[in-house]
Amino acid sequence: MTATETQSVTTTSHSMARPLLAISRWLTAVDHTRIGASMALGAAFWLVIAGVIGAVLGVERADVSGALVDAGALTQLFSLHRFALVFGVAAPLMLGLSVWMLPAQLHASNISLPRLASFGWWAWLAGSITVLVSYLANGGPGGGAEQYVELYLLALGFVLVGLAAVSVAVATTVLTRRNGQRLADVPMSAFSALIGALGVALTTPVAIGTVIYLWVDYVNARVAFGGADFMDNWLGWVMREPQTLLYVVPALGILADAAVRTAKSRQPLRGVVLVGVGIAATVVLSSVTQQAHVFTVGASPTESLQSLVPFALFNAVPLLSPLVVIGLSLLALKTGKPSLSGAFVASFLGAGMIFTGLVGSAAMHIDALSLVGTVFAEAALVYVVYGAVLAAVGAVAMHIGTATGRALPDVPVILLSLVGVLATVLASLPHYIAGFLDQPANVAKGYDDSGIVGVANLAVALGHVLMVAVVALFLALVAKSRRGAPVVDRYQAQVNT
C-alpha cells in the first residue's frame, strides 16, 4: 500500500468517526453551552409542533361544519397544544437560556451541578417525546388507549422531574457562583433566572404529587380523580396563568439587561427592578393552592372583599412584575444614550406580550365578565408563551457575541421581532375578542362561527404559522452569522445593570 492510499484510508476512517465523536460528545455534554443550546433547540422543535397544532385548531374552529380533525381527537389536540406551549416551549426555553447565559454573567467557568442539569435536559427530552408518542397513540387526557394514558402520566412526571432538576442547577449556580458579587449586584438576567428557577423548583413537585395521585388512581380503582377525561382539571393550574409567569420570569431580566446595555447606562432604580422581578415569586403561593381565584361581587361588601383579596393577591399582584420592569427599562433607556438594538426591541416586545397575557388572565378571573370556559384563556397563554419566545430572541441577540464571537446584526433582529409581535397578536388577540363573543374553549362545535368569530379563528391560525416562520428565520440568521463576516458586538461593554 502506498503512502497516498494509507492516508486515504485514514482520512475515510476519520471522517466516519467524526460524526460518531460529535454525537458522543453531545450525548455526554456537561458544559453549560451545549446543555443550554440543546434545551433551546428542543424548545424550538416543540414550537413548530405547537404552531402547527395551533394553526390546525384555528382552521378547524373557523368553520363549525368542517371536520379537518376527527372529533374524538380534538380533546387531546387541545391538551397537546397546551402541553407543547408550556412544557415544550416556555419552561425549557427559559431554563435552557438561563443555563446558556449564566456562567458568562457571573464570570464562572460553568454552571453548578452540570451533571444534574444534563440529567434534567435528557429527562425533559425523553419525557416530552414520550408524551408526544402517547398522544399520537390515543393516550393523554381524554385518551381511550389505557396503556398510553398511563404512559402519558409517567412521561409527564419525567418532564416535570427534568425541569425541576435543571432549575435546581440554575438556582444553585446563582446562589453559589457569584465570585464575590452580592446577590443584589448580579445582572438582572441572573437574578430573574434565580427567581424563575426557585419558582419552578418549588411548584413542579406539587404537580409531580398530583401526577402520582392520578397515576395510582388511573392504574387501579379510578374512583377518586375521574379517569382520563378529568386529568387536565387536576393539572390545569400547571399550564395556565399565573403559574406560567414563573416559567417566563427570565424574560423580564433579559429586558432589564438589554435596556442598560443598549443605552450604556446604569439602572437608576435598580432596587425597584429587583423588587419588581421578585414580585413574580408571589405566584408560588397561588400555584400551591392549585385553584383559580375568581373575583365575584357578593351580596355584601364583606363578601366582595373576601373574594377580592385572594383575586388581587394571586392575579393582580403578579401584574406588577412585568409592569415595573417594562417601565424602569424605559427609564434606563432614557437616562443613557437612547437607541434601538435588536435585543432591546425583541425583549421589550416580548415582555409587553407577557404583560398583555397576564392582564387577560386577570380579567378572565373576574366573574362578571363571564370569560371562564371561553377561548380567552388560550389567548392569554399564547400571549405569555410567544412573548417569552420574543424575549428569548432578544437574549440570544444580546449574548451570542460573547458566546461565539459572532454577534447578530441589529436590523434583521428588529424586523424579525416586529413580525414576531405581529404573529403573537394574530395568534392571540382574535381569541380575546372571540372570548367576549362567548366562543367556548376546547371545542370546535356549538357556537356561531359567522362574522367575527370565524375570521378570528383564521387569523389565529395565520398567527401560529407566522410565529413558526419567525423562529425558523431567526435560527437561519444565527446559523448564517457563524459563516458570514463578523458584526460589531454592541453589547460587549459590560455595564453594571
Partner: protein
C-alpha cells in the same frame, strides 16, 4: 521596616452541595405538602350519608374495618428522630476530624432508613388496604408510597456520603451538613404525614 500588607485571600465559596440540597429539600417539602393538602381536601369533601340508625351521619372516607397499626407508625416517627441525631452526629464528628465516628454515624443513619422502609412495608401488610373501591385507598398508597421513595432517596444520600468519607474525602463537611439537612426535611415531612394520615386518618 514594616511588613507589606497582605492581600485578602479569596472569600470562602458557598457550598454548592449544601445549597442544592436546600433547594431539593424545599422541593420535597412542597411535594409532600401538596399531596397532604389534596388528602385534606378529599377528606373534607368526602361524601356523607345517613347511618342505618337514621340518627347520625357517616363520612365515606376511612372504612370502619380498616385499622391503622399505631405501633408501626409511631415507631417510624421515633425512628426518624434517631436518624436525625445520627446525621447530625456525622456532621459533628467530621468537623472534629473523627473519621471512624463519622462513618459509624452515617452507617447507622443508613440502617435507620432501612428500618423505616421495613416498618412502612410492615404497615402496608398489616393494614391490608386493597386498591379497589374508594378515594382513601388510592390516596393512602400514593402518599405513603411517595414517602417511601423519599426515604429511599435519603438513604442513597447517606450511602454516597459514607462512600465519600470512606474514600478519604474527610473534609467534605458541607456534604454531611447537606445530608443532615435533607434528613431533617424528610423527617419534618414524615411528621406532617404521620399526623395527617396515621393520627387524624
Amino acid at each position: 521596616m514594616t511588613a507589606p500588607a497582605l492581600t485578602a485571600g479569596p472569600s470562602r465559596r458557598t457550598s454548592t452541595v449544601f445549597v442544592a440540597t436546600g433547594v431539593v429539600a424545599a422541593g420535597v417539602v412542597t411535594l409532600m405538602g401538596g399531596m397532604l393538602a389534596m388528602w385534606l381536601n378529599f377528606r373534607a369533601n368526602a361524601p356523607t350519608r345517613v347511618a342505618s340508625d337514621g340518627a347520625s351521619l357517616i363520612k365515606d372516607w376511612l372504612k370502619k374495618d380498616t385499622a391503622v397499626p399505631e405501633v408501626a407508625s409511631n415507631t417510624m416517627m421515633f425512628t426518624f428522630v434517631i436518624a436525625c441525631i445520627m446525621a447530625q452526629w456525622a456532621v459533628y464528628s467530621a468537623r472534629r476530624g473523627d473519621k471512624s465516628h463519622t462513618t459509624l454515624a452515617l452507617s447507622i443513619t443508613l440502617f435507620t432508613g432501612l428500618a423505616l422502609l421495613n416498618a412502612q412495608i410492615a404497615l402496608w401488610l398489616q393494614m391490608e388496604v386493597v386498591l379497589r373501591t374508594d378515594a382513601y385507598e388510592t390516596m393512602f398508597y400514593a402518599v405513603t408510597g411517595t414517602m417511601f421513595a423519599v426515604i429511599a432517596s435519603a438513604m442513597v444520600y447517606s450511602l454516597v456520603a459514607m462512600f465519600r468519607m470512606l474514600a478519604g474525602r474527610t473534609q467534605d463537611h458541607d456534604v454531611l451538613a447537606g445530608h443532615a439537612l435533607y434528613w431533617y426535611a424528610v423527617s419534618g415531612m414524615f411528621a406532617a404525614m404521620w399526623f395527617v394520615v396515621y393520627v387524624q386518618k
